[in-house]
Each structure stands twice: as C-alpha cells, then as structure tokens.
C-alpha cells in the first residue's frame, strides 16, 4: 500500500497510548496528551528550573526565561496597557504553550498539538470566556457598549451592532482556525513534499534524479514553517491581548 506510506494526513492521527475511561468519559492518554505533557515539562524547565538560581547576572537558561517574560510583558503592555498586566499569566501560558506546541511539532516523530482544531478552539474559547466574564464583572451592562460604538447615527446603528456582534462571535473561530489551519497546511505540505521524494526515488533511475528537488523544497519549507510556528504563537498572544483590551476598555 504505497499510497498509505505517503499519506500526508496520517501524521494527525490520534493514537491512544493508555485507554482510560473514568465515569464513562473517554480520557485516554494519547500521543497528543504526551506532547502536551512534554510541553509542560519543557516550559517548566525553562521558566522554573532556569530561574532557580535567581542570579543577578543571568545564565543562558535564565536569560531565555527573562527574555520570554519581557517579550510577552511588552506585548501585553503595548496592546492592553498596564491594566492588561493582570492577564499576564494567561497570555504568557498561552504563548508558551502554543509556541512550544508549534515548534515541537516540527521535530520528526513528534506530534503537533495545535494541528487539532479542538485544542486551538478550546484555547480560543478560554480567551473569549475570560473576555466576557471579566468584561461583564468589571463593567456590567456597560460592556455591551463594545457592540455599539459611540458617535454612530441611530439610523445605521442596528447594522453596526449586527456587524460588531458577528465580528465578536467570529473571534473565537478565527483565532482557533487561524492557528489550526496554519499548522495543518504546513505539515501537510511538508509531508506531500516528503512523499514526492519517496515516489521519485521509487520510480526508476530517471525520476530518482529529480528527487533532490522536492528535498530542497522541504529544506526551504521547514525554515518557513519554523517562521510560521513562531509567528502564529505571537499572533495568538497578541490577538488575545487585543480581545482582552476590549474587555478592559469597552466602547472604543
């Protein structure tokens, strides 16, 4: 079955490592769960073990931890202001989780957690839940001003409100689908190019000569995917900040 050997979708299969069904719920430990656990371990290694010395002059790991912190802190402060810093742990956890998931997914034999729509949607839903709960708790009904910008004439106001509501509802979808689709498409492309190499090598001498071409493509694409992985983590974090900013300061 050579077409299975190069099946570019196979890499997204969820494989159950331990079957586990408490209360009739399927909570099996899968390859994706394993990667999440590895992400947790690596982020903790960087942020907790790396900073355990509390050096005045930081070492490599502590420098990396401080840079991660300052990068996210600057993003939060730049987008949502100083009031947004209370969401720093959330944005930081999201950024580090997505960043490590995306980058680890590029390693061979690994698994891309963020290529699962359910994972990215859960993260986006968490962000929107925080936005709505904080917005209503902080501003009450005033939070609804988010949908009715001030200074709009009453005639077009219903349309504006409709558009604002649609754009608000679309946010968790766009936030989750953007990350999911980027990861999915990139990994499929890499696998397709990998499949080309196998097919060309197996197709006889003449086609085998062409095999280095998709290999070159893979090299370039891998670099590009690394960029996308980092960029999408940043995009996820900064959009989270933008949405949180709406909850902090509703009514444009």
């Amino acid at each position: 079955m050579p077409e299975n050997a190069i099946d570019p979708i196979h890499q997204f299969n969820i494989e159950r490592i331990f079957n586990f069904h408490p209360l009739g719920l399927d909570a099996s430990f899968t390859n994706a769960s394993l990667l999440m656990l590895i992400i947790l371990g690596l982020v903790s290694l960087l942020m907790i073990i790396g900073t355990s010395q509390r050096s005045m002059v930081p070492g490599r790991l502590q420098s990396a931890a401080e840079m991660s912190y300052e990068f996210v802190a600057n993003t939060v402060r730049g987008t949502a202001g100083d009031a947004g810093m209370k969401f720093m742990p959330l944005v930081f956890s999201l950024f580090m989780f997505v960043f490590f998931a995306n980058v680890l997914g590029l390693l061979p034999f690994s698994y891309t957690v963020t290529s699962q729509i359910v994972v990215t949607f859960a993260l986006a839903a968490l962000v929107m839940a925080v936005v709505i709960i904080y917005g209503i708790a902080k501003h009450g009904t005033h939070f609804l001003n988010l949908f009715a910008p001030s200074g709009v004439s009453p005639i077009i106001l219903p349309f504006i409100v409709l558009i604002e509501v649609i754009s608000f509802v679309a946010r968790p979808i766009s936030l989750s689908v953007r990350l999911f689709a980027n990861m999915l498409a990139g990994h499929i492309t890499l696998k397709v190019f990998g499949g080309f190499i196998v097919l060309l090598l197996g197709g006889g001498f003449a086609t085998a000569l062409l095999a280095p071409l998709p290999f070159l493509g893979i090299v370039i694409l891998t670099a590009f995917e690394l960029l996308v992985a980092v960029l999408q983590a940043y995009v996820f974090a900064i959009l989270t900040c933008v949405y949180l900013n709406d909850a902090i300061h509703p009514g444009h």
């Binding site: 079955m1 299975n4 050997a5 190069i6 099946d7 979708i9 196979h10 890499q11 997204f12 299969n13 969820i14 159950r16 719920l25 399927d26 909570a27 099996s28 430990f29 899968t30 994706a32 769960s33 999440m36 656990l37 992400i39 947790l40 982020v43 903790s44 942020m47 907790i48 900073t51 509390r54 050096s55 005045m56 930081p58 931890a65 401080e66 912190y69 300052e70 720093m88 742990p89 930081f92 956890s93 580090m96 061979p108 034999f109 290529s115 699962q116 729509i117 359910v118 994972v119 859960a122 993260l123 890499l190 696998k191 990998g194 499949g195 190499i197 196998v198 290999f215 893979i218 891998t222």
Partner: protein, 194 residues
C-alpha cells in the same frame, strides 16, 4: 529530515491499519469527534497545571529577579552619584585648603621679609650712627691737632721773630711785645685769608 520520518511513519501506518479497526476509516483525524473529549480533558489538566505553575511560581520569580536587578542598578547608580558628589566635595575642600595654605605662606613670607628688612634697617642705622660718631671724633681730633699745631705755630713765630729781631737789631726784645705783635699779625692774616 523528512525521508526517515516518512519511512518510519509508513511502518506505523501498517501496524495501525492492521490493529486499529475500531476507528472509522476516511474521517479526517482533526475532525474526528471521538478524539475531542480526551484532547479537551488532557488540555484542561495540562494547561491548568501550566497556568498554575506560571502564575504561582515562574512569573513571580522572574518578576522578582527583574525587580531586584532594577533595584540594584538604581542603587548602584545612586551610590555612584553620591560618591562622585563626595569626591567633588573633597576636591573643593582640597582646593580651599591649598588656597588657604598659599595665602598663609604668602603672609608669612611677607612678614619675614618685613622683619628682616626692619632688622637690617636698624642694623644699618646703628652702623651709620657708629660711623658718624667715629667721623665726628676723627674730626674733633683733627681740630685738636690743628689748634695745637696753630698754637705751636704762634710760639714758633715768636721764637723766629725774637731770633730775627736779635739778629737785626742786636738786642733782645721782651717776650710779651713779640707775642702781641705775632698775635696781631696772625689775626690780620687770618682775616685776610678768610
């Protein structure tokens, strides 16, 4: 990178297809609803743990480190500024002391100079006085000698006049008339000479 991955995965595919028949074939794995629940459950557990670790342990610690460093830098800069101010004050005090010492040295030099000048002045005056006294005594001596010489001149003149009169007249004049004549003559000559 991709070639071994594909090769290894092809092996996985074969075992999977052989063993895992419960999965529906043809469903795109990310959209397979069977996988949603385990994913969400583990995501909640692991992301919850990550959030807890970051918010309770990692971020406060990093904040503490950065705050401590900022504090330390501010303190060091402050100390440096203080020390600079101290150094400047010390420099000013040194300059002041130097200026004072110079002024004192100048007044001392002036005083010494004045004192020496006064001493030499008094010495000179004393010397002058001594020399003047010596000069006066010498002049007095000369006067004495001259008057004595003058009296001698009168007696010589008397003797000479007596001898001359004796020779010319052959008779010896008396001493009183000769000395009167000599005195008169010398008085008129003294008047003439003057």
């Amino acid at each position: 990178m991709a070639s071994p991955q594909t090769a290894a995965e092809s092996a996985v595919v074969k075992t999977e297809l052989a063993g895992d028949a419960t999965h529906q074939a043809g469903v795109f794995p990310p959209f397979d609803a069977h996988n949603f629940l385990p994913q969400i459950i583990w995501l909640v557990i692991i992301f919850g743990a990550l959030y807890w670790l970051m918010s309770r342990v990692a971020l406060p610690r990093v904040e503490g480190i950065l705050e401590a460093r900022r504090h330390r830098l501010a303190k060091d800069l402050d100390d440096a500024a203080k020390m600079q101010a101290q150094a400047k004050a010390a420099g000013e005090a040194y300059d002041k002391t130097l200026a004072e010492a110079r002024a004192r040295a100048q007044t001392m030099a002036q005083q010494t100079h004045d004192k020496l000048h006064a001493e030499s002045e008094t010495k000179r005056h004393a010397l002058d006085a001594e020399l003047n006294a010596k000069l006066a005594s010498a002049e007095r001596q000369i006067d004495d000698m001259r008057t004595r010489a003058m009296t001698n001149v009168a007696s010589i003149a008397e003797d000479t006049a007596m001898v001359l009169v004796d020779h010319l007249t052959g008779r010896r004049p008396d001493r009183q008339s000769v000395s009167a004549a000599v005195a008169a003559t010398s008085a008129t000559s003294a008047v003439k000479a003057n």
